[in-house]
């Protein structure tokens, strides 16, 4: 089982990103569940979402303690939350940033999702859309296929700029 924890702020699309990722994994022929950890959060509050991907039906509903991958959609939450908590040794970190510092014991993947969203004009209610470009980055990391990432985005959104955003992130992320 592959376990992913997504950190974001309320309104940034972390919950949707988790759903999109589950859908893409599902289109890849895997089993997947996405579950946001709900507080009484409002826009701007730190939010955590979980995604599990497996070859077998998933029966676990509890929180992910030791993720294989941590996704940080907003580096601002890192001041309040220990995003690396419980990350498996050698586990990966995908960070929405033009470049990221080295994280000892882990491999970090920086990608400027915000820049991609802004360059395409993907802004909703004043916030850049991060949940669709991040799928492209996850595809480049091999978590899902690019084809399924695009299929998932097309299923959930009609604006085709979302697909282009995913493609851009796929291109930009260094493997």
């Amino acid at each position: 089982m592959y376990e992913i924890r997504i950190h974001s702020r309320g309104g940034e699309g972390g919950v949707t990103a988790a759903r999109l990722l589950a859908l893409a994994a599902f289109r890849d022929g895997k089993y997947a569940t996405a579950c946001p950890l709900y507080g009484a959060e409002r826009r701007g509050a730190p939010v955590v979402s979980y995604v599990r991907i497996d070859d077998h039906p998933i029966r676990i509903y509890s929180q992910i303690r030791n993720p294989d991958l941590v996704v940080v959609l907003d580096t601002g939450v890192m001041e309040a939350v220990d995003v690396l908590h419980g990350l498996k040794p050698g586990g990966w970190v995908l960070i929405n940033a033009p470049k990221a510092e080295e994280i000892p014991g882990h491999r970090s993947y920086p990608v400027d999702l915000t820049g991609i969203a802004l360059s395409l004009g993907l802004v909703i209610a004043g916030s850049p859309v991060l949940d669709t470009p991040v799928l492209g980055a996850l595809a480049k990391m091999g978590i899902i296929s690019l084809e399924s990432a695009k299929a998932a985005i097309t299923e959930m959104f009609s604006d085709e700029r979302n697909v282009r955003a995913a493609e851009a992130a796929y291109q930009e992320l260094l493997p």
């Binding site: 599902f26 946001p36 676990i60 509903y61 509890s62 929180q63 303690r65 299923e155």
Partner: protein, 370 residues
């Protein structure tokens, strides 16, 4: 169609297939998405139901009652405080023999305000004459709502059904979902005692002890009939759609020395704990109680039981443990866990089994061996 959905979305999607004539509901966290989705479909003309945006849960059930007695198929959904507020009408719906289907998204009762999963809200309604079923996956939520209509509207049942799903854990979890059209699996609704103005009648008039007693017995008789109707419906569902359900879902329980018994998502998580324990050489199994009313017949002789209650009846016991003690003479290790959304993992469940003390009660994370 094969897609992904949350538990809430799955409930709404099943309701859409069953096309209730009248849907009356009041939004409450974490049920909200069910109501919003239905309202959106009705507004878009995709669901030809009359949607009544009532001002309270009491009115939601009252409106369903008023509609149902005309012979209309109805639906409502609620959670926690809403179910408690609705309680008077919950009794009424069953007493009036109206096969209303309601989704309840299990959530803890205040105070303090707590929006997370707990089963006390629905267990408190166990004596109202409603059939109660608790689901463990998104697909099961969809399938069970479909089956609930067929069971509720069956002429030998004619009692309302409450479909329960764990708040957030399932209501907001996204999983794959096959949205088969039920086709003729659920026959058209015909209420034998529907209002017919050509034949005036008084419904719910003053009733003396003898007749009242007989009506109560009728409810119990139908409740007993429902066990058979549930089995038949689940078997027919399996034949038609290929997904198999039972009143109690067993997992590796056949040869088990110790059996974990739980409800809802905890029952699914327990299966993972069972695999873990088996690898350690402990012959564990699990039972997930789906239908809590009518309460299932269980043969648990010769096994040790670990019962997990995400609920409590103060001054008595965990409600599931108490029910099992009453019906099986078992003396389980009773674990109270997950109240107010407390995190309970498969590791924790495996720990309950390893440390089991028959006859004792554990309040997980609060106290050892109360």
């Amino acid at each position: 169609m094969l897609t992904i959905a949350t538990g809430n979305k799955a409930v709404a999607a099943a309701v859409k297939e069953l096309r209730p004539a009248v849907i009356a509901a009041y939004p409450i966290t974490p049920q909200t998405e069910i109501v919003e989705q239905i309202a959106a479909w009705v507004a878009a003309g995709e669901l030809d139901s009359s949607y009544i945006p009532v001002e309270s849960e009491h009115s939601a059930m009252a409106a369903c009652i008023g509609a149902s007695v005309t012979g209309a198929r109805t639906f409502t959904a609620t959670s926690s405080q809403g179910l408690a507020y609705m309680h008077e009408m919950v009794n009424w719906a069953a007493g009036a023999r109206l096969p209303i289907v309601m989704a309840n998204v299990n959530r803890a009762l205040a105070p303090g305000w707590n929006i997370w999963a707990e089963h006390t809200d629905a267990f408190q309604e166990r004596d109202t004459g409603w059939l109660q079923v608790y689901v463990g996956t998104v697909q099961e939520a969809y399938d069970t709502v479909v089956m609930a209509y067929r069971i509720a509207e069956h002429e030998e049942v004619l009692l309302p059904v409450m479909v329960n799903l764990d708040g957030f854990l399932l209501s907001h979890s996204t999983q794959s979902l096959e949205t088969d059209s039920p086709g003729d699996f659920v026959p058209p609704f015909r209420l034998p005692h529907a209002i017919d103005v050509a034949h005036p009648a008084g419904y719910g008039t003053l009733t003396g002890p003898d007749d009242y007693f007989r009506f109560r017995w009728d409810i119990e008789r139908s409740m007993r009939n429902s066990s058979r109707v549930i089995r038949e419906t689940e078997q027919d569902f399996s034949r038609r759609f290929g997904r198999t359900y039972a009143p109690v879902e067993e997992y590796r329980a056949d040869d088990a020395d110790v059996v974990v018994i739980a409800v809802g998502t905890l029952g699914k998580e327990a299966e993972v704990a069972v695999d873990l324990l088996r690898r350690e050489g402990i012959r564990a199994g699990s039972l997930r109680i789906r239908w809590f009313r009518p309460f299932p017949d269980l043969d648990l002789s010769g096994r040790e039981l670990v019962v997990i209650d995400r609920d409590y009846s103060f001054g008595f016991s965990g409600i599931l443990a108490g029910s099992l003690r009453a019906r099986t003479r078992a003396d389980p290790y009773s674990v109270i866990a997950g109240l107010g959304g407390q995190e309970v993992t498969y590791d924790d469940i495996a720990g309950f089994v390893r440390g089991r003390e028959p006859g004792r009660e554990l309040w997980f994370g609060v106290d050892r061996n109360v």
